[in-house]
C-alpha cells in the first residue's frame, strides 16, 4: 500500500544542502539597483535537504498520481485519452523549445507553418471558415467566442441583444462564460429523451437573443437530434449558435459543427487533440468561426503572404476582439495537437469518433447487463454515458460517491460524479477510443464486484478507499474550513 508522503519541510535538517551547487553570490554591486525596501531582511525559509532526499520525495509524490500513463481514467466530459509520446518528443525538439516568441518571423517560418497548418486542419475538421489559436484553455475559448458574438451584434447596431440561451444539458461553464461577457443567461429545459425542448426554445428567443450555447453531443451523453431545427429557430430570431467543443471527440471526422449551423466553436485541444491535461494547464482552447464572425477573431493569427507566413494583427483585422494572451497562446501545447493531427490524418480522425463511441456503447451495454441503470436507456450513447445509482442509493444506502471511492481500490480513476446535476446519483463515464477491450472488461468486473459488495458488505464500500495513502476524506470539513497552508509545528 502506498504511504502518504510527508511535506518536504518535514525532511528538513538545518545546514543540510548542496552548497557547492548554489548560484554564486552576485555581490553587493549587482544588487545596487534594488531599492532597500524591496530587499529581503532574512533569507527565505526553504527546506534544507540533500539532493537524494529531494529526488526521492518528488519521485514518490509522482508515484502517488493517478494518470493516463498509469490508470484507466474514465472521467466523463474530460476526454482523458492517451497522449502519444511521439507528440511530446517532436514538440520537445530543441529548435521548437529554444525559439523565442519575439524572434523575427523570418527565422520562425517552420514554426509559423506548423501553426498555419494547424489552423487549416482545425477549420477543415470543424467546418468553420477561420481559426485562432491564442486562447489558453476551454473557458478562455468560450470567453473569446461569446465576446465575438457580442462584437458582431454591436457592429450591426444591435447592441440590445444581451441574452444567451443555455439548455440545462449544456456544459457547466457556459452560463459562467455568458455572465463574464456581460450577458444574461436564459436556461431552457431538455425533454425526457435528452433533446432540447423546442417549444421552450421558441418561447425564449426574441429581439434580446444574442445566441445559444450548446454542446453536441450534450452533457447527457446523447446527440442533439433537433440541431438543424434549433439552428433555424435561433438564426431566424437573429441570434448566433455557439458550439462548446467539450464533446467534439464523439463526432470527430463524422459530423462538423459548421455543417450543423454553428457560427462559433471552441476546441479543447487538450481533450480531443490529445495534449496533456488534468494538471491545471497549460491548455489550449482554439476558436473557430463561420463567415459572419471572421472579422472579429482574436489576434494574432497566422496568415500566409505569397510564399511565407506572418502574424496577422490589429492592422489586418481592425474589428478583432483583441489579444487574449501573451504572444500567441501555449506554443508547446499547440505543437503537440498539430503533431497528433498529422499522425492521425483524415482517416485516423474518423476512427477516433467511431472508436470513442463504440467503446462507450460497449461499456454501457455491459454495465447495464451487470445490473446498473442507464440514465437514458432508450438512447444510444455518444462518446460517454450516464449511469444513475438512484436505486442503489435508495435500496442499499450506497451512493455514487461510495462507488467512485471504492473504484480507487480496484485501480481505476473514478468517473465524474454528480454531474450533470440533472441526473440524481450519477456517474458520467467516458472511456475514450484509446482503451482496449480488456481494460473495459476489467472495469466492468470491478463495478460488478463493488455492486456485490454493496449488497453483501456495504460498509466496505461506504468506508472506501482502503488501499490509498489517505482514507475517506472529510470533504465537507475541507470545504467549510479551507486551509491550504502548511505550518510547521513548534519543535518539542
Amino acid at each position: 500500500m502506498p504511504q502518504q508522503e510527508k511535506v518536504i519541510f518535514e525532511y528538513s535538517t538545518p545546514g543540510r544542502g548542496a552548497e557547492d551547487q548554489w548560484p554564486q553570490d552576485p555581490g553587493e554591486a549587482a544588487l545596487a539597483d534594488l531599492p532597500a525596501q524591496l530587499r529581503r531582511a532574512h533569507p527565505p525559509q526553504l527546506p534544507e535537504v540533500g539532493e537524494l532526499e529531494a529526488v526521492r520525495h518528488f519521485t514518490r509524490l509522482s508515484q502517488l498520481n493517478f494518470s493516463i500513463d498509469t490508470h484507466f481514467y474514465p472521467l466523463g466530459s474530460c476526454t482523458m485519452k492517451y497522449n502519444p509520446k511521439a507528440c511530446n518528443q517532436y514538440a520537445m525538439l530543441p529548435q521548437f523549445l529554444a525559439r523565442h516568441p519575439l524572434a523575427p518571423e523570418s527565422s520562425g517560418q517552420g514554426f509559423l507553418e506548423c501553426m498555419h497548418e494547424l489552423q487549416e486542419m482545425l477549420k477543415e475538421v470543424t467546418g468553420m471558415r477561420g481559426v485562432a489559436l491564442s486562447p489558453m484553455a476551454g473557458a478562455h475559448g468560450e470567453f473569446a467566442g461569446v465576446a465575438m458574438i457580442r462584437a458582431y451584434h454591436r457592429s450591426r447596431g444591435d447592441a440590445a441583444r444581451n441574452e444567451i440561451i443555455v439548455p440545462e444539458a449544456a456544459h457547466g461553464t457556459n452560463p459562467a462564460t455568458a455572465t463574464m461577457c456581460g450577458c444574461l443567461v436564459r436556461e431552457i429545459p431538455v425533454d425526457a429523451q435528452g433533446d432540447v425542448d423546442l417549444a421552450a426554445l421558441k418561447a425564449a428567443v426574441g429581439p434580446k437573443t444574442a445566441g445559444i450555447m450548446l454542446t453536441n453531443p450534450s452533457t447527457l451523453g446523447v446527440f442533439e437530434r433537433h440541431i438543424a431545427e434549433v439552428a433555424r429557430i435561433v438564426h431566424e430570431a437573429g441570434g448566433l449558435l455557439y458550439y462548446d467543443g467539450a464533446n467534439l471527440n464523439a463526432i470527430l471526422g463524422k459530423v462538423r459543427p459548421g455543417d450543423m449551423g454553428f457560427d462559433v466553436i471552441h476546441m479543447n485541444l487538450h481533450k480531443t487533440f490529445s495534449t496533456p491535461h488534468g494538471g491545471g494547464g497549460p491548455g489550449a482552447g482554439a476558436v473557430g468561426v463561420g463567415e459572419r464572425l471572421l472579422p472579429f477573431l482574436p489576434v494574432p493569427v497566422v496568415g500566409r503572404d505569397g510564399g511565407g507566413y506572418r502574424w496577422l494583427d490589429e492592422s489586418d483585422l481592425p474589428q478583432t476582439i483583441g489579444r487574449l494572451s501573451c504572444f500567441m497562446g501555449n506554443a508547446g501545447v499547440l505543437l503537440r495537437a498539430y503533431i497528433y493531427m498529422r499522425l492521425l490524418g483524415r482517416e485516423g480522425m474518423r476512427r477516433v469518433g467511431e472508436f470513442a463511441t463504440l467503446n462507450a456503447n460497449y461499456l454501457l451495454r455491459r454495465l447495464t447487463e451487470a445490473g446498473f441503470d442507464a440514465a437514458y436507456p432508450q438512447r444510444r450513447a455518444s462518446h460517454e454515458f450516464i449511469l444513475t445509482l438512484k436505486r442503489q442509493a435508495r435500496d442499499l444506502n450506497v451512493t455514487a460517491m461510495d462507488f467512485a471511492k471504492r473504484l480507487l481500490d480496484y485501480g481505476f480513476h473514478a468517473p465524474t460524479t454528480y454531474f450533470p446535476l440533472l441526473v440524481p446519483e450519477c456517474l458520467l463515464i467516458e472511456p475514450t477510443e484509446t482503451e482496449s477491450r480488456e481494460t473495459l472488461d476489467a472495469f466492468v468486473t470491478a463495478m460488478s464486484q463493488i455492486l456485490k459488495e454493496a449488497s453483501e458488505e456495504p460498509g466496505r464500500v461506504t468506508s472506501a478507499p482502503h488501499t490509498m495513502p489517505v482514507r475517506r476524506l472529510d470533504d465537507v470539513r475541507a470545504a467549510r474550513q479551507l486551509d491550504l497552508t502548511w505550518k510547521p509545528t513548534a519543535p518539542s
Binding site: 435508495r394 460517491m401 460524479t417 454528480y418 446535476l421 440524481p424 470533504d475 465537507v476 470545504a479 467549510r480
Partner: protein, 132 residues
C-alpha cells in the same frame, strides 16, 4: 420518507413558504431538497431591501456535490436574510423548516394571488413522481 409539514406551502422547485402572523413570508428549502444536496458548505442569502420578482434566483445553497439557486416563490421585498447561515450552513440540513430558513419576504401587493403554491399533499405527490 422526507418530512413535509402540513402547515406550509411549497413549490415544485422545493422551496417552502411559511406565512407569519404579520402576513410576511419565511422561505427555505425542503427536507427533500437538503437531503438531495447533501451536507451544505456554503449558503448565500439575499440582502434586506432587495426587491425580487417571482421565480428570480435569490439564494444559493452549495454542497460538496452541487451549487443550486433558490428561487423567490412570490414577488416582494426581502426583509432579512438568515445571517446565521454564513457561519452555520449545516442548519439547513439539520433544521430545514426551523433555524435553517433562508430569507423573509414582504410580498408585493396582490403577489400571492398570482402564484400557484402547493399544499403539503400536492408537494408530497411531486416528490413521489420524482422518485420514479
Amino acid at each position: 420518507m422526507s418530512n413535509v409539514p402540513a402547515d406550509l406551502k411549497y413549490t415544485r422547485s422545493h422551496e417552502w413558504i411559511r406565512t407569519l402572523a404579520d402576513g410576511t413570508l419565511e422561505i427555505g428549502v425542503t427536507d427533500h431538497a437538503q437531503d438531495a444536496l447533501g451536507d451544505l458548505v456554503f449558503v448565500e442569502v439575499p440582502e434586506a431591501g432587495r426587491t425580487v420578482k417571482a421565480g428570480e434566483a435569490c439564494a444559493v445553497v452549495e454542497s460538496v456535490k452541487a451549487a443550486s439557486d433558490v428561487y423567490a416563490p412570490v414577488a416582494g421585498e426581502v426583509l432579512a436574510g438568515n445571517a446565521q447561515l454564513a457561519a452555520q450552513p449545516d442548519l439547513v440540513n439539520s433544521q430545514p423548516y426551523g433555524a435553517g430558513w433562508l430569507w423573509r419576504l414582504k410580498p408585493a401587493a396582490g403577489a400571492l394571488a398570482g402564484v400557484e403554491l402547493l399544499g403539503a399533499a400536492d408537494y408530497q405527490k411531486v416528490l413521489e413522481a420524482e422518485a420514479h
